[in-house]
Symmetry: C2
Amino acid sequence: MPSNSNTIYYTLTDEAPSLATCSLLPIVRTFTSAANIDVKITDISLAGRVLSSFPDYLEEDQRVEDGLAFLGDLTQDPAANIIKLPNISASIPQLKDCIAELQGQGYAVPDYPENPQSDADKDVLQRYGKSLGSAVNPVLREGNSDRRAPKAVKEFVRKYPHSMGKWSMASRSHADYMRDGDFYSAERSVTFADAEDIRIEFIDANGEVTVKKALSMQAGEVLDSMRMSAAALREFLEQTMDDAKHSGVMWSLHVKATMMKVSHPIVFGHAVTVFYKDLFEKYETLFDELGVNPNNGLSSVYEKIESLPRSKREEILEDVHACYEGRPELAMVDSVKGITNLHVPSDVIVDASMPAMIRNGGKMWGPDGKAKDCKAVMPESTYSTIYQEMINFCKTNGAFDPTQCGSVPNVGLMAKKAEEYGSHDKTFEVDAPGTMRVVDSTGNTLMEHTVEPGDIWRACQTKDEAIRDWVKLAVNRSRASDTPVIFWLDRNRAHDIQLIKKVEVYLKEHDTEGLDIRIMTYVEAIRRSMERMIRGSDTISATGNVLRDYLTDLFPIMELGTSAKMLSIVPMLKGGGMYETGAGGSAPKHVQQLQEENHLRWDSLGEFLALAVSLEDMGIKQGNAQATLLAKTLDEATGKLLANNKSPSRKVGELDNRGSHFYLGMYWAKALAAQSEDTELAERFAPLAKAMANAEKDVVAELERAQGKPVEEEGYGYYHADRAAVKRIMRPSATLNAILAEINS
Amino acid sequence: MPSNSNTIYYTLTDEAPSLATCSLLPIVRTFTSAANIDVKITDISLAGRVLSSFPDYLEEDQRVEDGLAFLGDLTQDPAANIIKLPNISASIPQLKDCIAELQGQGYAVPDYPENPQSDADKDVLQRYGKSLGSAVNPVLREGNSDRRAPKAVKEFVRKYPHSMGKWSMASRSHADYMRDGDFYSAERSVTFADAEDIRIEFIDANGEVTVKKALSMQAGEVLDSMRMSAAALREFLEQTMDDAKHSGVMWSLHVKATMMKVSHPIVFGHAVTVFYKDLFEKYETLFDELGVNPNNGLSSVYEKIESLPRSKREEILEDVHACYEGRPELAMVDSVKGITNLHVPSDVIVDASMPAMIRNGGKMWGPDGKAKDCKAVMPESTYSTIYQEMINFCKTNGAFDPTQCGSVPNVGLMAKKAEEYGSHDKTFEVDAPGTMRVVDSTGNTLMEHTVEPGDIWRACQTKDEAIRDWVKLAVNRSRASDTPVIFWLDRNRAHDIQLIKKVEVYLKEHDTEGLDIRIMTYVEAIRRSMERMIRGSDTISATGNVLRDYLTDLFPIMELGTSAKMLSIVPMLKGGGMYETGAGGSAPKHVQQLQEENHLRWDSLGEFLALAVSLEDMGIKQGNAQATLLAKTLDEATGKLLANNKSPSRKVGELDNRGSHFYLGMYWAKALAAQSEDTELAERFAPLAKAMANAEKDVVAELERAQGKPVEEEGYGYYHADRAAVKRIMRPSATLNAILAEINS
């Protein structure tokens, strides 16, 4: 591998961020090149990943490099410096759309095999599996996670707070979860003193043993196993629906099918078949024949019945509607289009939907378009309790006040696919009564669960190296920011009991004198963090991988109105750094607006912030003072952009993503021209600052003129776009293009 | 004072307990006399206290000893052994009723002066003041408080749990309280290093100083001062009514006007005049003339307008009803009789009404007799937050399950009228704008508050000796019961900051090795206690005086269904002991049933339990082994009584209070006859055991026959009963009377 010391790898992803990249990068490179830093693009888009999985199906000139694999290798390089933009965590429907689009563009990738029978089908399915769900993050996150609100953003929000829905003390909203029979209640966990080969086995009623998986555990590694009872889950779902119906609140499901991509779609599917119980019972045979998969949501019914005669379709649709009679109102994803919470699993992800509800005074949107109180159902109780705690807190103390709020930065255990993130290949839907067990190389049973058909069983691994680094990162962040740390570890949970032992040992490796470091259950921890937060104090949350994911949306959305404005850093185990941007997803609605109005409301603030930390780290690691100066001036420019309100507007005709890039460039150039630390850079950027200032009116006018009509570009695809076409769309200002061409010439 | 070593002083109080005493004592004395223990009655009834206050108004033969003063002196005797039954904490209306009854019986006690003008009137008012509210407890409680659920009771409840209302997660009920402007937010506190004479002063707008009170502080004493803003209170009340109206829940007030007998009636009065704002504004002049006092509730309006012509009265009543239009539904004390929560202040005491609501699934009774969700308004936030915490907890975890629940015993700081309990003579309703301040003997201002007319200002004292003894008691109880202790002290509250310092010092005086002792805010403490409680674990709450009062109803009502079954011990500072019974009040409804049906459902369980501890302590302190044996066998008898369900029934014709006393005596005699520790006692009680067993059917039949018709006894008064008449009512079984006469002859 060549030296990467002076290279920033900037990921090309999907949807809005990939569009924004096309506008932003030419500006960024104008600056970084002055410090001899190369910004290289690596394609990790869904389409790119699909194409790179099937070289044998493609013409030679259609084949693409596997960008994700490249970056995966790069994470092992101490000089790695990666800026990672949000990408699609594809659901099956999304993946199938992408495949169809690629096929339409002439790429002979195979169909997604719904019912793989042949070995060839199974091979295809296995290859596609690598592009499903959270496929990118587990590969790249070769370190733990450091997420925090940048000072500039926090200051901006204190002055210009986002709106917060009012909470009523009489709100009926709440979060409900299983009290028994779920993963939490049946979790077992062991730590391996020495390296050990283990097997996951199923023993059927006749005692016949099937090896489901063989694994090599490292010394110090933690292995959990857990079981969710399908019967208990279905009974719970039924009860919650009855209860919501009875108490007159809407019913809403919240899972994380994208991340827990094997277990949670099954949970989602149970919700669909319980809610529409009469429908699925009546058409059991037909739906089987049609290949309806409730795990993909009610949309699967709509999709599969398309092939039926009209009269039959109408009969089924009537039966769908009949189901609503005995059920509570369903919370809607899109009440205008009639898209309910049970339509597709990717629409109801916990970490996005729950903060939205809480920020909205505990209300979700009903079928009539009105905001209403809601029973938020999160079957697996492990992490759900924190939402109920926050709901109770808001009922008692009112909505969080962004102008007064402290912050809850996160240090997340993430490295080496820690915990549930690494469970996908160890998750099984049981199809016969029996026992799932984990045995060591000598045949000793380490953990076991009695299981029934339909139960979900999974195992999760956590590497000792990751835990040790996580503790170090937490201590370092506490020291660096003079902020207390709470390790969110539940002394009643099997896995956390193992972790608490390790945390207590590894804390001793550090100087913790004068630091306030505590270990608390999730509910205690969130309560303390909130109590401090409303009094303006910050508290670092040191959490496991799932809570990292949840909290880095939950708190930012309260504090900042969005998680996209967070700094998200992955200090790699091997010494490199990854700087993630915009945890808020890849914004398909933004693309829709662009297509209809040629206005892109994506805010690249996350990219600005990530780039600044990326440059700052490069400055330190490579002793590149110019990089350090670029970082500093970029932060100044970002602060100015916020203060002058040059972020993209949501409305067509106003400043959009492209315009905000122009302003960032102008402020950055001005900041460099104005500084006296490095006269070479000052002189270099003074003309650019001047040119951009002079051109401000023209550029803004040109950008505005481009808006207001649908985008009609040849070769433009949703998943796989022709880059030249994207360039025409995203760089419409001839004046700006000319200025950049001039300075880079 | 003669030696009290072998004397138990048993208090004669009011209402149901005083009736029960007449039946129980002859049985008790039959046993105690065997151990040479004398059980003497001391009258501390409301009527007795009134009579003893006015010897100069009475005929010589009408004069009575001041039983309360006698017991007050006795508390200083290391040999003191007092069994204290529940007595009336009189509101002004109750006191006036009592006066009228005494006058009707020929006692020339003076009228209660509503508007004292003359010095004579003021003297009368001052004498009556000593009988108002919690007048008895502050005199007798010359020690801190040790309250816990007796093992026998806890075991009984685990087997035969009381009913608990179901909690819905969608419940709208909540507790609301002031966020600013109340006592909590304006509390100041100082600790005096040395003895110091201080003055409480009011400075008016012209700088003129009025001394409101001079006090001598002891070394180490804590003095607090606090202010509740009338304007803030009224605005808060108005807001809560609007909010309840808007969100469709009932509105309910919860204060403690009996205990905080100066400050809380004023708070209550504001609630009345805000709720019925239009009424009080319209009739301001008339009501002033009539002497309507809203601090006595809406009942004061009803009472005072009696003197008006019918047409005027009807006009006013129509205007009362018109007030309900713009207001939320009011929670009812008695929906059948139309008695609302704002009728009289003594009906809405926090410690009784809030647990009842929480036990009832968060519901109170509406005007239509239906149980409904409620906004429970407790203006002063200091202690209110714990109820909101418990409500949220029940919404999340469901109702407490008595069969699984752990216990929350209390060690309460109570000695020397600690804290708010001693505030009555230092509470002032401000009548002009200015400053209230506390100055030391050299004129230095120690604490001050800017005040407006109507504001309530009060000071509270806590003696160092009491705090030190409280810490000792908490450590002792923790050690004796092997139970963790939480000191409920709020590090954000001025008073508690002083206490925390002392607790930290005094804890060092004890061996706390191996004990789990923590200091937590009220909300943290109740949360932790509840989390442990639902998992079956006990947690001692070491609290201040008001929380002692509140918690020793709140937790027992959840755990045991009633607070009357708690052991309530006051280990006196001077070494004596007081054993309180039945914290559940003196049960006026029971008396009503007795009068109508001659059935007394009062449960003397509290007396049984208290007597056992009283005897146990006497055994230890006086080296009286027979007392110890009596205690042990009494507890056995009580356990048997519970197990055999021989407690009083609520229904006429079934076993009542008198019958339960018979069974207690029979089981006690049997236990003594069966033991082999003391053959003298065994032989002495064997005949009684036999006689009672043989007479069981007859006695029960005789007791049953007495029931079912109204009591019509000459000389029977509600407050001041002829003891001979009470004896005829309460000892109707000739068979039982004969058996007792026989053994005592």
